[in-house]
Amino acid sequence: MTDEKISEADKAIVRALQGEFPLVAEPYKELAAGVGMTEEEFLARAQKLLSEKKIRKMGAVLRHREVGFTANALCAWVVPEARLDEVAKNMSASPAVSHCYDRTTTKDWNYNLYTMIHGKSREECERIAAELAVANNIDERVMLYSKKEWKKTGMKYFCEDS
């Protein structure tokens, strides 16, 4: 159902780009050679994926523990439906918030907004959450601290059938 949106050539670009990025002066020459394209064609297709927002960003993600952000908490909020959009946008503006999603609720789980908060300690995460609560006038939240990371990996797209 989704395949009409993305050509086989573009899937090849995605598969090449989701692998290890060559840390060399001309990385796209290497990546293009790997899929039998010219560097120009590869870059043009990648540019198009970027302009179509299929590529979200090119760059690096750091290991947050190693760069000093040792604490993180998934904070779930109960936000009145009418204010959800406004509150979500406000919380997204905080540099301490890396992810902000609204989500469905169930009968006994009425949290409808989720923010991932990063800090240098659990106390800092608590302080950031308390500030967000006051700034947005939200009383009800739960801090879901992680006890163990069982898996954290990037998705491998378009590999199911190859």
Binding site: M1, T2, K5, I6, Q18, E20, F21, L23, V24, A25, E26, P27, Y28, L43, A46, Q47, K53, K54, I55, R56, K57, M58, G59, A60, V61, L62, R63, H64, E66, G68, F69, L74, D85, A88, K89, M91, S92, V97, S98, H99, C100, Y101, D102, R103, T104, W109, Y114, V142, K147, K148, E149, W150, K151, K152, T153, G154, M155, K156, Y157, E160
Partner: protein, 151 residues
Amino acid sequence: MEKLNDFDKALLNLLQSNLPLCPRPFGALAEKLHVTESVVLSRVQALKAAGFLRRIGTFFDSANLGYQGTLVALSIEPGAVAAVAEAINRYPGATHNYEREGRYNLWFTLLTRDKRQEDAILGKIRTLPGVKDMLNLKSNKKYKVNVQFRL
């Protein structure tokens, strides 16, 4: 672990926000930092080897590539958490899987090609031994996905 110097911090701040999509991306960064391309390359390689970089390269928008995602919370008997976590980890679309404090003690994200595949996977996980309850928390709107740390 070695400490980051001021140049490393400037480099990582730039690298986190944008690696230009051009023939010589590290050369473009070098110009902004007023150093040579080879200095940038050797430093990026060293920082990667030292474990500061989780990933360098391309980050995709899963929805725009035609994938659908969800966040799933499980309430599991304490003694069964490890076995359930390992079973979940075997699905390539389960990209993040965390044991957390609270009534729902295992949380994972799942990317699939369609609802049918998602239902099939969640159906199997729901019946694993020790799983007492499952919440499938679908999102309507991603407000922010941007893991960036100002150093």
